[in-house]
């Protein structure tokens, strides 16, 4: 300890200088502010994802000691026809969960957007309703509607189409479409709501200008409404596609994947493999593949919507 005791005034001045320097130059300072949020995100989103990826390299029943199998689980996914079929089913669901709701949403927006009417808020509220109902309740309700004596069959009978009636969810040809239509019902409202609120920020004078130039409703929609909805379209596509690919609750409640494997989706298999069949590693691998598929598609959607602007 050869140094003399520090002079208090001098020390304080040093600190001030150091502080000023840090404010001016350190590139790390910003990260400190992000740290709390990042720590939470890392602990609850990134780590579990990494852990899932790590588990996918094992053959593990969830209880006893796991065996390292490397990429074996991934190889099994590629070979297993049921797993491949489930991915195909999920892609079919994209049509019903994403494509149809977006088309319906655009249609209704095209009809409602041309004139400002009082009570738009009420429409939006109505369209939003299916979003408010828990998906399990939606599934149970639709299971009744699709049942042997359900409303769907009653309607067909009432109009004399007795030959068409069947237990829709138990029919090999109709089950996947029936499940898909439930998704259409749920997500159409979301799309309409998104587009309707998007349209409100369009300057009304643009519509007036288009009308003065002699544009009909279709021309108006294509030239004015649609370009302004690009952002909303990207959001709607992302949300609905993810809902289709990661679908679980509706399928689990209505058909549990049946009949046969007609409505089996990857989300259902992940759950089944992990919790009832004791194949945690395989489930994790399928979850990783599903996650990558979803990320890839979302990336593509974002790329497309950006490159057009």
């Amino acid at each position: 300890m050869g140094s003399s005791p520090p002079v208090p005034g001098r020390q304080a001045a040093d600190r001030r200088v150091r502080g000023r320097r840090a404010r001016g130059r350190s590139p790390w300072r910003g990260y400190v502010y992000v740290l709390p949020a990042f720590a939470v995100y890392f602990a609850f989103a990134v780590l579990p994802a990494l852990h899932t990826a790590y588990l996918s390299l094992f053959e593990w029943d969830g209880v006893t000691l796991g065996d390292w199998v490397g990429l074996g689980n991934y190889a099994e996914i590629l070979q297993d026809p049921v797993l491949r079929r489930s991915v195909f089913n999920a892609l079919v669901l994209v049509v019903f969960f994403s494509f149809v709701p977006i088309v319906l949403g655009l249609l209704s927006t095209g009809l409602l957007a041309r004139y400002r009417r009082p009570g738009m808020g009420a429409y939006r509220f109505l369209f939003m309703l299916p979003q408010v109902v828990p998906l399990v309740a939606v599934g149970v309700t639709w299971r009744w509607l699709y049942g042997d004596d359900g409303v769907v069959n009653q309607v067909f009978r009432a109009v004399g189409l007795d030959g068409v009636t069947r237990a829709w969810l138990g029919d090999f040809g109709a089950a996947l479409i029936a499940v898909g239509l439930v998704g259409t019902w749920v997500l159409s409202g979301l799309c309409m709501m998104l587009f309707l609120s998007g349209v409100q920020k369009v300057d009304p004078s643009l519509y007036e200008a288009a009308r003065i130039d002699g544009a009909g409703p279709i021309r108006e929609f294509v030239s004015v409404t649609l370009p302004h909805l690009r952002g909303e379209l990207a959001v709607a596509m992302t949300v609905t596609t993810v809902a289709a690919l990661a679908s679980f609750d509706i399928v689990y409640v209505t058909t549990n994947g049946g009949p046969g494997e007609q409505t089996t989706v990857p989300g259902l298999l992940v759950y089944r493999l992990a919790f009832s069949e004791g194949k945690v590693g395989l489930a994790a691998a399928l979850a990783v593949v599903l996650g990558c598929l979803i990320l890839g598609i979302v990336y593509l959607i974002n790329r497309l919507s950006r490159s057009q602007t």
């Binding site: 593990w60 209880v63 006893t64 796991g66 042997d148 069947r166 994947g257 046969g260 919790f275 945690v280």
Partner: protein, 448 residues
């Protein structure tokens, strides 16, 4: 003393878990999944059967027959005021799918209903071997040994050296065919069939009379009950048991299984099943049968209470008949049984509760709720369809013909069976392909 070591071990397990989560990629042996699951406590119950002093609370998690469980608990608590049993009901699929997680967690219930997956849990020491109690309480006299032998998980007891025991049955179950007397008369059917061929004739007669012959709830497990019922008649029982127990070399790809599966397809082609079988859950198929929708219904004795209440004497029951009139009665069935977690702090109290299940008083409650009491002689004579079932069950027990359900062969078997049978019913798959998918799953779990 044991409590505190428990707590320490649990804390250690939790700490290991936390480390495994925080450092997932720093590869070392402790991070192999499963290494953090410490086997907690002893693997077997103490042999003392003393009723514990002081107030004790037992948590009981179960999935079947909530009314029966409530009644049993009420009767038990009246007899043993110091022991409170807290029921936790879960729906069956929830229960089975979460069983492993539940029983390996720190908060495992003291007592849990025995279900698929218990074999693995028993092997890892998460449920207690009850063999010492089997002798101490004399369960062999109170319960038919065949029912206890379904609960050994194929293991030998470390405590007694005899067969292990991982559950005590409350109610027994069995599948078979219900028939609507009124509709059967209309189709010209006047008595239950004595052979499988005769049953087929009756199905044809019902079809002829423009009635729906057979109600099947194949959306969940009704279809596989039918398949198993046919298999029971055509496949030697020993071979079936070998397959379900995972004995080396057993196979489902055999001529008898092909025949049973072909029969399923053929009945579908002939229009014997209710039209929407694949879209109907078992409960719904029962309700529709009660409304007079079909002449016959495949289901288990668990539906009897409901059917007797609605149809009274208008409903009868018979086990699926064999190939010849003299064939032994073989039916699938299991028991609603309860296992004890190795984490429980009150194994003695759990033993007192399990022993109560074998008492005549409990037997009466079990019988009243449509289940077959383990000891039929201890209870009053049932009437109506319940009597039909009791008679059928007695015959099957006498013929050593109670087999477990085929989904006990492997954890993933239920899904293979359900979706496979749906395809058989819809004529979408050949028997060979179907059996191949079952055997694949079997080999996946048990090895070749």
């Amino acid at each position: 003393m044991r409590d505190s070591t428990h707590r320490v071990r649990r804390r250690v397990a939790a700490a290991v878990c936390a480390v495994a989560l925080v450092l997932p990629l720093a590869a070392c042996e402790a991070l192999t999944p499963g290494s953090a699951t410490a086997v907690p406590g002893p693997t077997s119950v103490p042999s003392s059967t003393a009723v514990p002093d002081g107030d004790v609370t037992l948590r009981l998690q179960f999935a079947d027959a909530p009314l029966m469980v409530d009644a049993l608990i009420a009767a038990f608590e009246e007899k043993h005021p110091g022991i409170e049993v807290e029921p936790q009901y879960k729906t069956f699929s929830d229960y089975v799918q979460n069983l492993k997680l539940t029983m390996t967690s720190d908060t495992a219930p003291d007592i849990a209903q025995y279900a698929v997956g218990m074999t693995d849990l028993a092997a890892d020491g998460h449920v207690l071997d009850l063999a010492p109690y089997r002798e101490a309480y004399g369960w062999d006299e109170a319960v038919p040994p065949v029912s206890l032998d379904q609960l050994t998980a194929g293991r030998t007891s470390e405590a007694t050296g005899g067969r292990a025991l991982f559950g005590v049955p409350a109610g027994l179950s069995m599948t078979g065919i219900y028939y609507n007397r009124e509709l059967a008369r209309r189709a010209g059917i006047d008595s239950p069939p004595r052979t499988l061929a005769e049953f087929e004739e009756q199905l044809a007669a019902a079809k002829e009379a423009d009635l729906t012959p057979l109600g099947v709830g194949a959306l969940d497990s009704g279809g596989l009950h039918l398949w198993a019922a046919l298999l029971n008649q055509l496949m030697p029982t020993d071979e079936y048991w070998d397959w379900v127990n995972g004995r080396k070399g057993a196979t489902m790809e055999n001529p008898a299984a092909v025949e049973a599966s072909e029969l399923m397809v053929e009945w579908g082609r002939k229009g014997y099943y209710s039209e929407s079988a694949n879209g109907t859950a078992q409960v719904d198929s029962t309700a529709r049968f009660a409304e007079g929708d079909s002449v016959f219904l495949i289901n288990g004795n668990w539906a009897a209470g409901q059917l007797a209440a609605v149809m009274g004497d208008g409903v009868g029951f018979f086990p699926m008949p064999g190939e010849r009139a003299g064939s032994p009665t073989v039916a699938s069935g299991f028991s609603v049984s309860y296992a004890v977690s190795s984490l429980t702090e009150h194994p003695e109290a759990a033993g007192v509760f399990l022993d109560f299940l074998t008492s005549p008083e409990a037997g009466q409650i079990i019988g009243d709720n449509g289940f077959l009491p383990p000891n039929p002689d201890a209870v009053g004579k049932p009437a109506g369809v319940l009597a039909d079932i009791a008679r059928g069950h007695r015959r099957a027990v006498a013929d050593d013909g109670i087999t477990t359900f085929p989904d006990f062969a492997a954890p993933a078997m239920l899904d293979r069976l359900r979706s496979g049978v749906q395809k058989l019913i819809a004529d979408r798959i050949g028997p060979a392909e179907y059996l191949d998918s079952l055997q694949d799953e079997w080999e996946d779990h048990h090895g070749k």
